[in-house]
């Protein structure tokens, strides 16, 4: 039946739909990271949580392969294939970074973290989660942008979300400086290996926001 070629022409699954599914996993993982860090601060076993995050990361990888396969099979979207693949790479690397945090935390416990630094790290985590929320909103809105044929109203909304992520990145920089100062102030009290470990963990969180900003910037650029 010729209906078959309509079905082939309009695939039920689209790269944009899958990118949104991929972003939903990113958001889910970002929300899991906060209780994970809280548990780590309380010296609880986080192995199961870490395994679950790894499993979701594998699910995201499957979606990534599906998108790549679709784009290699001549499925086209309103955006350049390269832009989509670059975006996918960045979004996927965010998931990888969260998995890195979970794996890293499962490796070691750090003694001597006071309430001040725990609060600062939780503040940092909240900002990281917030940046991912905005990013997820942005990619979710892309469908609307396509549906309504790229109206300036929606493009402005997308640009505003990008600005919000940029603001978060600035806040995160400030928090990271405070955390950095605290780390170096403890060089005589806490085991240096633990301090290096803790610093690396904080840096991954900081890099997530940096990367979220880059990802939002790319999205914003190819929407225009």
């Amino acid at each position: 039946m010729k209906s078959a070629f309509f079905i082939r022409m309009f695939p039920k699954e689209t790269p944009i739909k899958l990118l949104i599914e991929h972003a939903a996993i990113l958001e889910e993982i970002s929300r899991l990271i906060k209780p994970l860090i809280e548990s780590w601060f309380q010296n609880k076993d986080i192995y199961e949580e870490m395994r679950f995050i790894s499993k979701r990361e594998s699910d995201a990888d499957e979606i990534k392969f599906q998108i790549r396969k679709m784009l290699s099979q001549s499925v086209r979207t309103p955006f350049a294939v390269k832009d989509i693949l670059d975006y996918l790479h960045l979004q996927d690397s965010l998931i990888d970074r969260f998995e890195d945090v979970a794996k890293k935390l499962s490796l070691n416990k750090v003694e001597g973290l006071d309430d001040y630094i725990k609060e600062k790290v939780m503040e940092l985590t909240d900002q990281v989660i917030q940046s991912i929320d905005y990013l997820e909103d942005m990619i979710r809105e892309v469908r609307k942008v396509i549906t309504y044929s790229f109206p300036s109203k929606l493009l402005k909304k997308e640009a505003n979300s990008y600005v919000k992520i940029e603001d978060i990145e600035n806040k995160v920089d400030d928090i990271s400086i405070e955390i950095g100062k605290w780390i170096y102030s403890k060089k005589k009290e806490i085991n240096p290996v633990d301090l290096i470990f803790f610093r690396e963990m904080v840096l991954i969180l900081v890099h997530i926001t940096d990367r979220a900003e880059n990802t939002a910037e790319l999205l914003n650029a190819f929407l225009k």
């Binding site: 010729k2 309509f6 022409m9 309009f10 695939p11 039920k12 689209t14 309103p78």
Partner: protein, 401 residues
């Protein structure tokens, strides 16, 4: 007379297959965009396909009947009967092959190839009206291209005039009636020209304009009642959902007008020879033959269309009504224009052209362009293969008649 009855049966079965196969061309986007239900799609398509075939199908049928093979060069009536019969059977075979293997093969190309194959074998290369053939073949390239360009422009216009405005709903209430009026203007102009056989001069133009304006005013009041529920864009889509019902009808009408020839063209050639006893007589195509083709298409839609639409509706990504409207309007206008010039074009390929056009205008979330390669391949293969099939069948049949 027996051969005429057998040919009529094959022509009827083939028109049923065309109806069942091609209902997706006219209704897939409307069902995909939830503008109409599957049941409504089937009823509308059946009625409009018949109307298109019965009132507007003559020109293209004439082209298939006597435009490809020059009848004046065929001396013996039995050559024409065997040849047209071979072309009909070859095209029918291709319809079934394309149905079975889900190939985007055009029945139009198959029947034109069939007539060409028999002409070359029966009389020689000189029997083919190459000028006309060139015109037909060029229309196969031009129709998807024109459909694509038109769809691109229509969707760009909708984006500019409605979707990019500060108040899209207000803009849609103003622009929508104009687009509906324009659709009715074109349909009425074709009706005066092709069904009532009037020359396109000031009188049909005036009546068509009046009709178009009347519909425009009426739809202005209907669309005025559409209120925004959640957002303005949603209301715009609801307006286009109503408008897409009109353009789906338009596609069905134009499809019936163009594609009835694929089943009835060779049958009309046989009819002319059987009833007059000579080849090349100026016998017209009786209305009841077009009616038979139209009925077959309508029956094909009614019997198998539901399943086809269900498959399409369940398996394609949801389309927006603004896109559906742009695709339908462009396809129908292109196929309708081709019918006016007596050009047998592939409505399936024109739809594909229109879809690509909207895609080029960044209107679709995803399209699989892989199908275009398959279409290009089918263009290269269908005509020679159906020509060879018809030539072989002719050799077989000529011994019987």
């Amino acid at each position: 007379m027996t051969i005429l009855i057998i040919a009529a049966v094959i022509g009827f079965v083939m028109s049923m297959a065309i109806g069942a196969n091609d209902v997706a061309n006219s209704m897939a986007t409307a069902v995909g965009a939830k503008a109409i239900t599957i049941k409504q799609a089937v009823i509308i398509a059946a009625l409009l396909e018949f109307t298109g075939a019965f009132f507007f199908g003559k020109m293209v049928t004439e082209t298939i009947r006597k435009g490809i093979v020059d009848p004046s060069l065929i001396k013996e009536p039995n050559i024409m009967i065997a040849g047209a019969f071979a072309a009909l059977v070859a095209a029918a075979l291709w319809v079934f092959i394309s149905t079975f293997f889900a190939l985007p093969i055009s029945t139009t190309h198959a029947v034109v190839g069939g007539m060409t194959g028999f002409g070359i074998v029966a009389v020689g290369w000189g029997a083919i009206n190459w000028g006309k053939m060139l015109f037909i073949v060029s229309s196969w390239f031009l129709s998807p291209l024109l459909g694509g360009i038109l769809a691109y422009l229509v969707f760009r216009f909708i984006s500019w005039a409605i979707l990019h405005r500060e108040f899209p709903l207000t803009a849609a209430r103003k622009v929508g009636p104009f687009l509906i009026g324009l659709t009715f203007f074109i349909v009425m102009l074709m009706f005066f020209s092709k069904a009532l056989h009037m020359d396109i001069n000031s009188k049909p133009l005036l009546w068509s304009s009046l009709f178009g304006v009347g519909v425009m005013v009426l739809s202005f009041f209907i669309l005025k009642r559409v209120k925004p529920k959640n957002d303005e864009y949603g209301a715009v889509e609801r307006i286009f959902r109503k408008m897409q019902v009109v353009t789906s009808c338009y596609v069905s009408l134009s499809h019936g007008a163009n594609d009835v020839a694929n089943a009835i063209g060779p049958l009309a050639a046989i009819y002319a020879v059987v009833t007059t006893g000579v080849v090349g007589a100026q016998a017209g195509i009786p209305k009841y033959l077009l009616g038979l083709g139209g009925l077959g298409i309508a029956l094909g839609v009614a019997v198998l269309g539901y399943r086809v639409m269900q498959t399409v509706g369940d398996n394609i990504t949801e389309l927006n009504n603004t896109r559906g409207f742009s695709i339908d309007f462009s396809t129908a206008t292109t196929v309708f224009l081709a019918s006016v010039f007596g050009l047998p074009v592939s409505s399936s390929h024109t739809v594909v052209g229109s879809i690509v056009g909207v895609g080029m205008a960044r209107g679709l979330e995803a399209i699989n362009l892989d199908i275009i390669k398959k279409i290009a391949l089918s263009w290269l293969l269908t005509v020679p293969l159906s020509a060879v099939t018809a030539a072989l069948l002719y050799k077989l049949f000529i011994g019987w008649f």
